[in-house]
Amino acid sequence: MDMADEIAGRFPSAKIDYVRPRRIKVTVPTDKIKVVALYIRDVLGFDHLNVVGGTDYIQQKEFEVIYFVGSISIPGQQDLVVQLAERVKRDDSPKVPSLTDVWGGAEYHERETFEMLGIVFEGHPDLRRLLLPEDWNDIPPLRKDYISPGR
């Protein structure tokens, strides 16, 4: 797909993981993600943030944060979803830049990822816990080394 080539040509550090029908996954280094995100939003026209996900790859000692972005304003590419991913080392304080100023809708999604995986989003306007009980006193529950009670 030309869109994937466009991103790869523009940003040599971006790695195209796969191109499938209607889906493109791009992994970029954490220090480049904001530039690539702005490019995807402003030049390619992906203006609607669908969801932000995070995965704990415990064996590779890495976290993945992934933004799913769709396009609304540009006809013809409304079926496409760009999956913008970044990998961060699984150490004591994983930090990634917040993309709330690129896609305003990211705010609550990033808060959720922060509390579920313990990844800090730097520059987030209001990084507080969201869904868990206020007295939650354990490691973030979606990490793979957290075992649910009774399991």
């Binding site: 704990d56 799913f68 609304i72 079926d79 896609w103 809708g105 990211a106 529950p141 979606l142």
Partner: protein
């Protein structure tokens, strides 16, 4: 209204009030409000009172065991949430779904859309003081629950759409009951329009209240009726057609106003379109098998998938990472109500207290779904 008062130390004028989490309308959802008189200066939605850890639970169960608990966040739209899940697993496993099963999936999803919208409009009516609306809507909603129950065998929690097809075929001759219900409902919706949507009192409480502009709707990442009422005709059924939706003739309801009235009217129009789809589906449904034999513990190849559908509340999406084992390695649920959360904070600011219920419920927000 269950409230807790506390006076802010810095400014005597500003009072902080907690709306919920046991407010009968808010339903397990709290909004912290900062008020100046009866004007909202700041609102901070605080979800999480019904968080169940669906995503973590999914990692302990195999792909078939995940079906019943995944529909629990939105029992009023149980097929909507399972449709997206089944679509994602089918894509991972490369399943070729039999055509009859695709039709049954669409039938059930559209029945659930009507069931969900009826509930939404009923409660909205209650919130603007129109109690006739909730009695009508709840009564009419039961006709569709009955239809769904005859097809799926269970009431409300249908657990009908599963990876590989649907759980069972529909009973013979159900078309008669279906067409009867749809014909009656078509006329009934015209009554809704006259009785509620063109009712001066109802209009006064909802027109121009909580206006969300097109730019903000896109920027805040809203979805579903909220997005479409703000002038964006974006519906996944049309934008990224899945299942057999391309075979049906229907339109995407959309309005420009962006207020509570428009959001409710879009829901009414969507029910009209759902009736259209249901008529075509019951008429054209092909014969054949309704599910693939996957076994109780299907093997799912390693890989990732992101699938999305248009559920009743909006765009429902699943991101599943499989490592080749019978259980998902990671399952990320992207639920529409959670996506509409930023709009609550945005819209409540500057409102009068009396306008909070219609605006809040007008956003079609379902706390259990948002907390997943």
């Amino acid at each position: 209204m269950s409230t807790a008062f506390e006076y802010s130390p810095d400014a005597d004028r500003i009072m902080s009030v907690s709306l919920g989490p046991q407010h009968p309308g808010a339903g397990h959802f709290r909004i912290r409000l900062w008020l100046d008189g009866d004007l909202v200066v700041r609102a901070d939605p605080d979800p999480g009172y019904v968080h169940r850890g669906e995503e973590k639970m999914s990692e302990y169960r195999n792909y078939i065991q995940n079906v019943p608990h995944l529909e629990r966040p939105v029992i009023l739209d149980s097929s909507g949430i399972l449709f997206a899940y089944s679509l994602a697993v089918d894509q991972l496993m490369n399943n070729k779904i039999p055509p009859r099963a695709e039709y049954l999936r669409v039938i059930m999803a559209e029945l659930n859309r009507i069931i969900s919208h009826e509930y939404y409009l009923g409660i909205l009516g209650l919130f603007v003081g129109q109690t006739t609306m909730i009695t009508w809507m709840m009564g009419d909603r039961d006709l569709f629950i009955d239809l769904g129950a005859r097809i799926a065998g269970a009431r409300v929690t249908f657990a009908y759409i599963i990876p590989g097809g649907v759980r069972n075929d529909m009973p013979q001759g159900i078309e008669v009951q279906a067409f009867e219900t749809l014909d009656w409902f078509d006329k009934r919706m015209d009554e809704y329009e006259k009785m509620f949507f063109r009712n001066p009192l109802w209009e006064e409480r909802s027109r121009g209240v909580g206006v969300l502009t097109r730019e903000d709707a896109i920027k805040l990442g809203t979805t579903g009726t909220v997005l479409r009422a703000s002038g964006v005709a974006h519906d996944i059924r049309k934008a990224e057609p899945y299942s057999v939706y391309p075979e049906f003739d229907f339109a995407v309801a959309s309005l420009k106003e962006g207020d509570t009235w428009a959001r409710a009217y879009v829901a009414l129009e969507e029910m009209r379109e759902s009736v259209k789809i249901l008529r075509q589906a019951f008429k054209n449904i092909p014969p054949g098998p309704v599910r693939l034999k996957l076994g109780p513990q299907p093997r799912v190849p390693a890989g990732e998938v992101y699938a999305r559908t248009e559920a009743a509340h909006g765009e429902m999406s699943y991101f599943i990472v499989s490592d080749g084992s019978p259980k998902p390695y990671r399952l990320k649920l992207g639920v529409p109500s959670f996506k509409n959360l930023p709009a609550i904070r945005h819209l409540l600011k500057g409102l009068h207290i009396a306008d909070i219920p219609p605006v809040y419920w007008g956003l079609n927000y379902w706390p259990v779904e948002a907390d997943h």
